[in-house]
Structure formats: structure tokens, C-alpha cells
Symmetry: C3
Subunit: 157 residues, 3 copies
């Protein structure tokens, strides 16, 4: 019952950090962790340098350009200050030996977290599986509800 | 245990879509779905053209003018861009045959979702029951906690 | 099963109000309530006039200056309008005899709520225990997961 099922809706760096810390904590305590990435949260999973994708509409491309690409480019929810605040926060956290998002994501995967990308959101955002990091499941709301029915720490982040 | 009890706190179109997709998923899987609308989330339930309401203070009227009226006028949490981004997102989702919020709300009600408006928030926001769409329950935190005690997918959105 | 375990991630006045109303409701119904304050949510717990703290870096001091200090200085998530909207909302809520955040916090503590400050976030934000109101536990993700495993209304706010 110490497992966690987390909807990662947001692309904020701080919220993504919170989600991964909770997921890794649940895994460390012997529970399961499922992260369900939806809407802006899909940007957490984007490759830094995605391959060109054929057949994308102009609109889909434009949304893709405007959204952050992957865990190293996410803004803070507060005090982003055109990137300055976010850069300062990352630097301070590194100086204090606090975890960073790419590291937490790698830890979670190594420890067996399920990372699921919401198929409906991928369509809405115009993102294709090959633009996301490898090894992501594609799923829907039934996957989220199924995972949530087996855990208690179920959060929308 | 596949039911969902969702606090809809936000008036963001994308968050409201997520809430309704989860609620409809829970209902489709045979679970219960309770949506508890509070603070800005009450704006999801507002009528497009509410009747004039007697006895509202100037402040209550002013808040009413400034807040979005109903599911067709909600902003995106991101890239709203003075309405342009939101209009583009709606158009793209329609073109891709993805669900829209008024349709999801109608589906949820048809499938038996409980829609509860938080009485304390209605007072704070200066909204009256006749300004909300018909058939909404008025309730309090005990209603939320009671519903949440019977479901697992309990989220604050 | 009517207990609540709430992650207070945000420093928004309206979200903090929602968290405390739910916590107090759970306590009134005989359940437990644990509030886990993390990231910006730590600002809810800050003293209005903290003692000077030795050994803070310039960066930690600067973050401290830029963040709101305590429950009376939090902004609304919406319509803050450089403080004007927030002041108007507080005044209206008081005029309508609705609860305020300092009162709700005091009620929660009197009724036995556990208030836990996330140790990792305190480091990231550069906040020390003596800058927070007295009687706050310091804890980590295992504390959150432990509390959440015993309650159903588990929310990320």
C-alpha cells in the first residue's frame, strides 16, 4: 500500500521533481510506482534532439517548437524569470548535492517505475512516440485507474 | 475501487478536460465518479447566459464579470496567449476528433456522475445556484471526504 | 478512512485555504490529517518576522526575500493583480464570515493535525527550521508515504 500512482500533468520542473521524488520513495519502500504523463507533462519525456517526424501538420510542429523539450529544459512554476531563476535554482540544488530531474528519472526507471504516456494527450499535443525517450508505454485513462486502484498515494501533479 | 473523487479547483480548460476524462473513464469501468467544484473550478459550471440575480454586491458582480463563464470560455493553463492558443488548441482537438469539455460534461452527467459545487466557495466567489447549470448539488467538505473514502483515484486538479 | 494526507506544494492563498479546509474537515470527522509542506508550500509556514540566521549564502537570502513570508502574505493563484485582487478577496471573505488562513492553521493545530516540512525542499529553498513557525516536524518522502497509506483523501495541492 505504499505504492504511488501519479498523474504528471504539468511541465514545471519543480512539480516534476516532486513527482519523481515521491515515485522513487515508493519504489525504495518496496511499492510500485506508475507515472502517467498527460498534456504538458508529456514534455518531461521528450527527447532533447528528436528525429524528424514525417507527416506532422504545421500546427503540430509549431506547438512542438513552443514547448520545452525534455527534463533539462523545464521551467519552474514560480520565479522562472525568463530562465534566470530556473538556472539559479538548478545550480543551487546541484551545489547542495540535491537530486536533479534527469538523475531521478534514470533512478526511477532502474528501480522499475512504469512510465506511461497518455495517448489522447499525445494526439492533442501532436507528439509521436519516436519523439519521446525510449521505453515509454503508451496508455489511456483505464491504465491510470487500474494502477490507482492498487495504491494509496495517488496524486495529480 | 475504480471510482474517482475529484476536486476541480482550477478553471483551466486543460485541467477540466483531464478531470472529466478521468471521471468518464471511472464511470465506463463501472465505478462511481464525484466531481467537487471549488474556487475557480466553479466557473466550469457557470451558465453561459445566467439570469440576473438580485441582491449581489458590486464586488460580487465585478468578480463575476472577470471570471470565465462556463466550459466554453475557460483558458488553457499554458499558451493561452490572450485566447489565441486556447482557440487553436480547441480547433486542433476538434479536427482530430478528440473530446471537448461540453461534450464530456454531458457524457458524465448521463452516466451518473455526481457534480457538487462547494457552498463555501460559492459564497467567497459571490456565485448563486441559479447562475450554475441545472442539476448541480451544493455540498461541503464532508461530502468530498465521504465520497473519497469509497474511491481510490482521488485527485486535486 | 476519512483522514487526509495533503502535499502542500503551492504558496497560493486559495490552494492553502483549500488544503486547510479539507484537513479541518477530516479532523472534525474523527480522521487524521497530515499536511506535508514542500517547495513553495514551505512559505505558508514561515514566520512573519524570522530571527536572523547565521551562515546563509547570498543566494539563499535572496530567495528568502523574494518569497512570501507566512500565511498573511500569500498571493491568489488567479486575479492577484499585484496584491489588489488578493486584498479584495480577503476582505470579502472576512465580510462574509468565511474562514481565513491563519485561523484555519490554528484550528488545525489545535485539533491535532500533523504539520511536516519537507527537509529536501528546505535545503533547496534555503530555509531553516527557526524561520518556520514553532512546532513543525521535519520529514521526508517516507513520512508522506507512511501517512498516505492510512488515509484515502490524499491530494497534491
Amino acid at each position: 500500500v505504499n505504492g504511488a500512482t501519479l498523474v504528471v500533468f504539468s511541465q514545471d520542473l519543480d512539480r516534476a521533481l516532486a513527482a519523481l521524488v515521491i515515485a522513487n520513495g515508493a519504489l525504495a519502500l518496496g511499492g510500485q510506482a506508475t507515472l502517467f504523463f498527460t498534456f504538458w507533462g508529456l514534455n518531461v519525456l521528450r527527447k532533447d534532439a528528436p528525429p524528424p517526424v514525417a507527416g506532422k501538420s504545421f500546427m503540430d510542429k509549431m506547438f512542438g517548437w513552443m514547448m520545452p523539450r525534455g527534463p533539462s529544459r523545464l521551467p519552474l512554476s514560480n520565479m522562472h524569470m525568463a530562465g534566470l531563476g530556473t538556472a539559479m535554482m538548478k545550480q543551487r540544488m546541484a551545489a547542495k548535492n540535491l537530486p536533479n530531474l534527469p538523475g531521478l528519472l534514470a533512478d526511477a526507471r532502474r528501480a522499475g517505475a512504469r512510465l506511461v504516456a497518455c495517448s489522447m494527450s499525445m494526439e492533442a499535443m501532436g507528439l509521436r512516440q519516436e519523439e519521446l525517450i525510449d521505453g515509454i508505454e503508451i496508455g489511456g485513462v483505464a491504465d491510470f485507474l487500474g494502477a490507482a486502484s492498487a495504491t494509496r498515494a495517488n496524486l495529480f501533479i
